[in-house]
Symmetry: C2
Subunit: 500 residues, 2 copies
């Protein structure tokens, strides 16, 4: 590539390094920092964030982008250079569209709102949070105008996490499987007595849980020479390079699922980051393409692989060696226990059958809040009515309902749908992998995971942020994101488990 | 304070934050980073270092300093504001005196030299390292000219770690106790059979070592709500705020001293940082005043407290609870065992009697290298001759001699003396504390450490970098750094232990 492009990349690498440094500070904050360090850490992060923003949105960067664009004008759409200029130009436009004054006010507003929300949830009292949320929704509406949109203001929000996707597209995908989910959930609830998961709820030594979980994700192919696992209150995955990927785990001494499936989930994210092409290392393209695609990887390794009967035909004997009290449990009982499905109020506790419906509920409410069709003050009632319609049960209070998620206090409206898209894509991609390599299910049942991982590396991971999720999905599966495969997967799997 | 001063401090806080971020990256590198992360981490650290340097040495900072200096011209010498402007102006002058071109070349030279030195040490072959060291010494000489000095070029190097101290002063301090040390070491070696430390060399469970060490430093007063301990290959202490101080420990499963006295040592550094006045938090004055003063704190808690008989009259029964195999060991035997003194070739393994002589040897050789009185090629022979003169034994090879330390490959000549000054100051300060509070020795024997710690907080810690080590020493003890107290302490203690 030419000199202008090289100059652009050199500057982007420095800006990227500042962002990665901030990620390291956040990681440390959640894994090692003593509580006394909170104030200084907030100040350090604010400085790095300011420097990164100033460097990225400066006229120097704009000029380098323009010069490089001319230079790479003839490069292929799929080439690293054309993708770099295209994607970073989009990032640049988004960063420069929002006035600094708005950002400052919004940051202050949401950092206050976070504490207010936590208190309101504790007190189960939405009215405490209502004024903050009203102002947040007002400002988020302003944000949609700054960012711009075609079909719907909500698209501007979606696009922050899922580049290029539209509200129309997401609404259709969600509408397509909403009724099917409601029906399946009702059928499962009617047959609840077919599954007993009491064997999962008993003391499991934490060190042994960790030992087993690490063994499983190492078998998956998570590379510990380029990765590390720690403990934190909320499990997450982060990275500072595709060669330095970090996972955290939360342990429950009385419930093994939390740690084991949590590790598989985060390892799914982690293997995505480890699989990004080394040609993109250190640049803004060296990351997963979107939250939805990212979630497809975590959900695939957690659910499609980790909650399959084949996997446990290989893994259960090993688990029994570590936890002899499982000795008498047969594969089928264990398989059913780890797949117990139950309608419940809290999204983060939802199983794979219930999960998307929690998201569809939030999507519909968020859209109505942004358009003004729903007043903030009426959100709790709208939530509870919809919840009953979807799940057949009604939250007892706002803590179980509208106040349960932290997202709105952060002002990250438009984020929720990516979780559901991830579930859908996990099955689309898995089916495609099996089409290419029919041995994958039996490989998994033999503890051989690299057939799947290599396929994911080649078809998804290596591209980093070069494509939008829709471009990538079409490239890999020949069609856009759809809910057909997911609903079929759930119906088959749970008809068997619950004898529907 | 006025607006100019506030503007200066605001900028210094941002620059400080970038530096602290770099420290967090280094901490992570040594405690959690997988080996795959090394390349990206080097790049991230280089970016932060570049940004910090550019921000600090920019004309903006220079102008803010000049404006603030006018504003605080009438403030007391001891005030925060006058100290801030005075100390930071000195930092600024030093940072701007050295040409960027020199820094770039020196960084390249030393990053190459580090690997060459490691190989040479492994091969016990100085000639491999000689060309690198020759160029390093040449460049270090240039550095002394950039920085400037009064009595001796070596003072410019000393001042990087010990502001305001002169070569003349250090030489006198060292000459004052050199003969005394040589004599004491010879006497101890002649009575070597009086102490047997075989009880320290046996298996000690690492988890239990950690448990005991943490209990001891918590009792000392290291505040874990503002601190954290991790494991690393080389133990160190670092901080990202006076409310976020980190220690690391190295464990030897067959020798308890490594971890227990290591923790006490690092906790001494850590309690210094935790004791810095909150009025200085987040500014460039929020750190220990110099390496020598810092080392005085680590050595005091490691040796004056941690290797005293009084301390173990309180701690040994607790150690016996954790390690029952010590049950039959009496206090006197244990006290002698942890204070075994022995002339040996390696500085980092030296006990408190031998340590300063190792430093004096390096100081004399470094001075001669800088003045050119000694050629680099003749350094191994000069080292061995001097070593025999001081300790009565001769290194078998260069790995045991001139090649043992990493410092010269880093180009940090002038650093070694601070270790010895720390030993001297530990006794000067301790004696002064006992003068003020005669109960300190008996308090220690009763597991009560806050009499000493509070005195250190008030007299030393709170001031941060406001004063030079000489100013602080005079303020606290009424005289400059001297070796009289240290030699008297050693003579009394070891005459008892070795029945001299």
């Amino acid at each position: 590539m030419g000199k202008q492009y090289e100059a652009l990349v050199a500057r982007l690498r420095e800006i990227h390094n500042v962002g990665m440094a901030a990620s390291i500070l956040s990681w440390d904050q959640q894994t090692q920092m003593p509580r006394g360090g909170a104030e200084a850490r907030a100040s350090q992060l604010a400085t790095l964030s300011k420097i990164e923003h100033e460097m990225f949105t400066s006229e120097i960067t704009g000029q380098l982008l323009a010069d490089a664009a001319t230079e790479v004008a003839d490069a292929d759409y799929d080439s690293d250079a054309a993708s770099m200029v295209r994607v970073v130009q989009e990032d640049y436009d988004n960063s420069t569209k929002i006035p600094t004054k708005w950002v400052t006010e919004f940051t202050q507003l949401t950092s206050m709102a976070d504490g207010i929300w936590a208190k309101a949830r504790q007190d189960k009292d939405f009215s405490q949070f209502q004024p903050s949320l009203e102002r947040i929704v007002e400002m988020v509406r302003e944000k949609t105008e700054f960012l711009g949109y075609e079909d719907h203001p909500y698209s501007a929000l979606l696009n922050q996490y899922e580049r290029g996707i539209t509200t129309t597209q997401v609404k259709k995908i969600f509408d397509d499987h909403k009724a099917g989910l409601i029906e399946l959930i009702a059928a499962i609830n009617a047959n609840a007595d077919k599954v007993d998961d009491s064997i999962m709820h008993r003391p499991y030594d934490v060190d042994k849980q960790r030992q087993f979980g690490l063994k499983m994700i190492e078998a998956y192919g998570f590379d510990f020479s380029r990765g590390y696992q720690a403990v934190s209150v909320h499990p997450f995955c982060t990275h500072f390079s595709s060669n330095d990927v970090r996972l955290t785990t939360r342990f429950d001494p009385d419930f093994m699922n939390t740690s084991v499936f949590g590790m598989m989930h985060e390892a799914g994210h982690g293997m995505y980051e480890q699989g990004i092409g080394q040609n993109l290392e250190g640049t803004p393209l060296a990351s997963g393409t979107s939250l939805g695609i990212h979630e497809s990887q975590s959900r695939m390794w957690e659910n499609l692989v980790g909650r399959s009967k084949g996997f446990w035909s290989w893994a259960l004997p090993q688990l029994k060696e570590i936890f002899p009290h499982l000795e008498s449990v047969d594969l089928n009982t264990f398989y059913k226990a780890i797949n117990k499905s139950e309608a419940s109020f809290i999204r983060v506790e939802a199983d794979e059958v219930n999960y998307n419906l929690h998201i569809i509920l939030r999507f519909e409410i968020e859209m109505d809040l942004i358009t003004g069709k729903l007043d903030v003050k009426d959100a709790p009632e709208a939530w509870n009515t919809k919840f009953n319609e979807f799940f057949g049960i009604t939250p007892a209070d706002d803590a179980q309902g509208v106040l349960q998620d932290v997202h709105w206090s952060y002002g990250i409206h438009g984020y929720f749908p990516t979780y559901a898209l991830g579930n859908l894509l996990s099955v689309q991609f898995y089916n495609e992998a099996v089409k290419a390599h029919p041995s994958i299910p039996s490989d998994i049942a033999n503890g051989k995971f690299n057939t799947l991982l290599t396929w994911l590396n080649e078809n998804i991971h290596q591209h980093g942020r070069k494509f939008t999720s829709d471009e990538l999905t079409n490239k890999v599966t020949g069609e856009s994101i759809q809910s057909r495969d997911y609903l079929a997967y759930l119906t088959t799997k749970y008809s068997d488990i619950y004898e529907l």
